[in-house]
Amino acid sequence: METLTRPGPVDTPVRAGPRRRGRQGRRLGYGMLTPSLVVLAVLIILPLAYSLVLSLFSWKLTDLNLPKPFVGVDNYTRILHDPTVGRALVNTVIYVVGAISVELVLGFVVAAALFEMTKGRKLANALILLPMIIAPVVTALLWRYLLDPQFGLVTQLSSAVGLPSGIGWFGSSGLALPALIAVDVWQWTPFVVLVMHAGMLSISEEQFEAARVDGAGQLRILRSIVLPAIVPQILLILLFRTMDTYRIFDTVFVLTKGGPGLSTETIGLYTYRTGFSYFDMGYAMALSVFILLTVLVVSAFYIRLLRRREAL
């Protein structure tokens, strides 16, 4: 379990005709790569380009075959003035920052604890990963039950010990977003734990020995040896978790549909609704281009950081 830097390709063929073989290898290489590039171009680049073009027109899903008035960048200027977009972006940012910070802190504590264990680590690893392989829709169902104000497990348990019970988490405009963040924390902290733990396993034993000889305590070791060593893993976590929380859709769609009011509206949900509930396709496509651009800017930033550290 360690993050390796990648070795170079085998482009030094043995014995006869290195140049001829190199050229053949190159031709074969393009031949093997091309089908994937074609599939990705057709399935990803083409729809995105289609979106980009059709976002310049004003049209409803219902008049797909009618002539569509060209409106230029009107759909994009509309984004800037749309109060729902503003609200959705604020919610999305609260969700992204809230979920990731809790996951990082909790994940580090659990990963460090797991690292300290001598027995049962394999079993713990196998059980920890369960939430992240569950479909988000099923996760939503689990939490819909757990937090049900009347018959949910949380209500049943808290009334049994005399705590306030009967709270309608997903129906309250103040609590719905924190509850959605809790669902994300439950599902994805395991990912943070396992990635950080993998990073910790690659720290050499000598470093710990040296620290102990210097009389460093456990907290000191965690802070000045373990934490700096797993910075590449933390960056990876930030990259993947930011991308995935920013596009959050499934659990919000199933649990709150953006409500109550606009209290859990996210940018992904709003785009979906614009297209498939209001049938306002020109605007939906502009919104999807907007999401794409913001995602690409953020991920380019992270990937540059990671490449500099040779972690990706």
């Binding site: 379990m1 993050t3 390796l4 990648r6 390709p9 085998v10 482009d11 043995v14 053949q24 290898g25 074969l28 093997m32 599939v39 990705l40 399935l43 990803i44 995105l48 289609y50 979106s51 059709l54 899903l61 604890a113 797991l114 300290e116 264990m117 690893n125 059980l127 920890i128 990963l129 369960l130 939430p131 392989i133 479909a135 988000p136 829709v137 099923v138 689990l142 039950y145 018959f151 497990l153 049943q156 348990l157 990912f191 396992l194 990635v195 993998a198 596009r247 859709f249 499934d250 769609f253 199933v254 992904g268 297209g275 396709m281 496509m285 999807s288 794409l292 995602v295 690409l296 991920s299």
Partner: protein
């Protein structure tokens, strides 16, 4: 020293309880009749029943969701492997120009949010009269599975010692022979893990299925979600549906356990 060990075990055990209790709760609910579920206090002593499963599989035709999910997952996994494994080898081993450029471009496709793709895909598939077909769903799921295959398999190919492929070259197998007869068999465990992850991601996918599937092609997540939207939730039935959705996931997930984190990080964290 001792103090830290005790604290560590406590932290891990508490965390595991937090992970497992919600899953256990849904399994228990799926075995309860409504009278045992709708109680103000938790009822732990009850007579287990399979009636929820009978209802979900009988009246509610949940098996058609299971069949659709299986077909879509297998289709998109097969397509992604057939196209992606050779590409992964080319990016790992062959002297092509702009290797890092192509690999980076493929990585970027992982960052494209599904919601940005699903809007234009809906229109394109509608125009091509492909909306609601298995093909539409398989194509949509390939957008996330193919980049995973390429990046994961590339990391497995790069870990192979080059000597074996060089030996195949000397034997006159050619570059493709070195790939097909040496590299692919040697990475069989990685290949299997990659396939399992693709099946998993496809099985769990919701947004594409929500928009692109038709009445006859709806997948398991759509079936599960349809239980939640209603005003009075059928907890027994929805829990049984959730457990049916979970069983294959847990089997696949535990089989690919070693490589799960690697798949989720595009091969960056070796597990």
């Amino acid at each position: 020293m001792k103090r830290w060990t005790v604290a560590s075990y406590t932290i891990v055990v508490v965390f595991l309880l937090g992970v497992l209790v919600p899953i256990a709760a849904v399994v228990v609910n799926s075995l309860k009749v409504p009278a045992d579920i709708f109680t103000p206090t938790l009822k732990l002593a009850f007579t287990p029943t399979l009636s929820n499963y009978a209802k979900v599989l009988g009246d509610l035709h949940f098996q058609s969701f299971l069949t659709n999910s299986t077909l879509v997952a297998l289709g998109s996994t097969a397509l992604s492997l057939a196209v992606g494994v050779p590409a992964a080898y080319a990016l790992a081993r062959l002297p092509i120009r702009g290797r890092e450029f192509w690999a980076g471009g493929i990585l970027f496709t992982r960052m494209v949010p599904a919601v940005a793709l699903v809007v234009p895909m809906y229109v394109i598939f509608q125009r091509a009269s492909l909306l609601g077909t298995y093909f539409a769903l398989i194509a949509a799921h390939t957008t996330f599975n193919l980049p995973i295959v390429i990046w994961m398999m590339r990391s497995f190919f790069e870990e192979l010692p080059p000597d074996l492929e060089e030996a195949a070259l000397v034997d006159g197998s050619g570059r493709f022979g070195a790939f097909w007869r040496v590299a692919v068999p040697l990475t069989a465990p990685g290949l299997a893990a990659t396939a399992v992850l693709c099946l998993l991601f496809s099985w769990n996918e919701f947004l594409f299925a929500l928009v692109l599937s038709g009445r006859d092609t709806q997948t398991v997540p759509i079936g599960v979600a349809s239980f939640i939207g209603t005003v009075s939730v059928d907890w027994g039935g929805s829990s049984a549906a959730a457990v049916l959705a979970l069983i294959p996931v847990f089997v696949l997930g535990l089989a690919a356990q070693r490589f799960l984190v690697r798949g989720l990080t595009f091969g960056a964290v070796k597990g």
